[in-house]
């Protein structure tokens, strides 16, 4: 269970999922197609995950699989997982998948996530260790948040190793102050 204050967890739960209302609800502006301030029974709406899952537990809505786990994405991942642009589909692909899994009860998502992560994990690490600094920007745009963290961790471990081997100053300017230096007058 992620921490209450976890920024990434909060952002994951903002991803939209398609739901169908089983119960009507008054006084809320959620359904854009509705003319009154209410949701009809049977209305199809997209809700953020935090709202959808709570309503699902109270049997007020049913959730279907969100578009980033549709057939097209699955086929692309099966073809070559490492080249799929997961970030534009959902920057929290894996975390979102893990959260959505018990809600839609689709076991194939589990397999999809695992196989995608295994292949992409290897690719990401290989690229982080070998790619030249300038060639990285294109690779980075395809990665999800989790993979970006992984990539940066790999690069910083590489940098730390180099520093340890070559030596260098131990004491440095505190990183909280930011990279900017004041202009020299």
């Amino acid at each position: 269970m992620a921490s209450y204050y976890d920024i990434d967890d909060i952002l994951t739960e903002e991803e939209l999922v398609p739901v169908v209302f089983h119960k009507a609800a008054n006084g809320v502006i959620i359904d854009p197609s509705s003319e009154t301030n209410s949701v009809e029974q049977g209305a199809k709406v997209e809700l953020p995950l935090w709202l959808a899952q709570e309503l699902h537990w109270r049997q007020a809505v049913s959730i279907s699989a969100p578009p980033c786990f549709n057939q097209k994405t699955r086929l692309e991942i099966q073809a070559d997982a490492a080249c799929v642009d997961l970030r534009s589909r959902c920057p929290y692909f894996y975390e979102f998948g893990c959260k959505i899994l018990p809600l839609v009860g689709d076991k194939t998502i589990e397999i999809l996530l695992l196989s995608a992560f295994k292949i992409r994990y290897k690719e990401t690490l290989t690229k982080a260790y070998t790619a030249a600094y300038t060639a990285t920007s294109k690779v980075l745009t395809l990665l999800t948040r989790e993979e970006t963290n992984l990539y940066e961790a790999a690069q910083s471990s590489m940098a730390a190793f180099k520093k340890w081997r070559m030596g260098g100053p131990r004491l440095q300017r505190a990183s909280v102050l930011g990279r900017k230096r004041k202009p020299v007058n």
């Binding site: 209450y4 204050y5 976890d6 920024i7 990434d8 909060i10 952002l11 903002e14 119960k23 009507a24 609800a25 008054n26 006084g27 809320v28 959620i30 209410s38 949701v39 953020p48 935090w50 709202l51 709570e54 309503l55 109270r58 007020a60 030596g167 260098g168 100053p169 131990r170 004491l171 440095q172 300017r173 505190a174 990183s175 909280v176 102050l177 930011g178 230096r181 004041k182």
Partner: protein
């Protein structure tokens, strides 16, 4: 959409560089609070409506109940976003207090980014740390790795003036001058970016 503004607030925090502060977004923060009040108002009016209809608020499951539920969930969601925003900023501010704030004021460009309560938090935290260290008679903020040599060579990067207190000598710290200092004396100035360590 419910909780959209709170999401923007958290998103803004997340989009910054890791461990760096962005200016405190008073405007958006205030708007999320307004939204909370709106949700609260709507929640209460729905509950009142149910009571007027003679329903048991605890057990009734009609459309008003689900409307109220959605408002309630939006409220707790907004709360979580606001709390996370404050909490994560406070964490960075604590790091600041450890790194730079023990003996000095914050640099102006960082101080501008703090809200009033955050500034107070920073000052109090630095004060508590200082009083703890003076009681223990121990500087807990120095480098954890034991040095090979107690003295290091440093170059002054900015005019520091006479504000430098050294334990064993005094010198003129003009910009670009080089000195051979006790490591413990130099550490805090290096952390603040006023000096840099030279390695041979």
């Amino acid at each position: 959409m419910h909780g959209r503004k709170a999401y923007q607030l958290v998103k803004e925090f997340a989009s910054g560089e890791k461990g760096q502060l962005k200016p405190f977004n008073r405007e958006l923060f205030g708007r999320v609070l307004e939204e909370c009040n709106e949700h609260h108002g709507a929640l209460q009016s729905l509950i009142r409506k149910m009571q007027e209809e003679g329903l048991d608020v605890q057990t009734a499951r009609n459309a008003d109940h689900y409307g109220a539920l959605i408002h309630h969930l939006s409220l707790t969601r907004n709360k979580r976003c606001l709390m996370a925003y404050m909490y994560n900023r406070a964490e960075i501010i604590r790091v600041l207090a450890w790194k730079v704030g023990l003996l000095h004021e914050l640099p102006e460009e960082i101080q501008e980014k703090l809200s009033d309560s955050e500034e107070e938090y920073f000052k109090d935290h630095a004060k508590t740390l200082k009083s703890y260290m003076s009681q223990m008679g121990l500087d807990v903020n120095v480098d954890m790795v034991p040095p090979k040599d107690p003295y290091i060579k440093v170059r002054v990067l900015e005019d520091v003036g006479g504000g430098i207190i050294l334990s064993d000598k005094s010198a003129n710290f003009a910009r670009h001058s080089m000195h051979f200092l006790k490591r413990t004396d130099a550490e805090q100035y290096i952390a603040r970016g006023l000096m840099e360590e030279l390695t041979s």
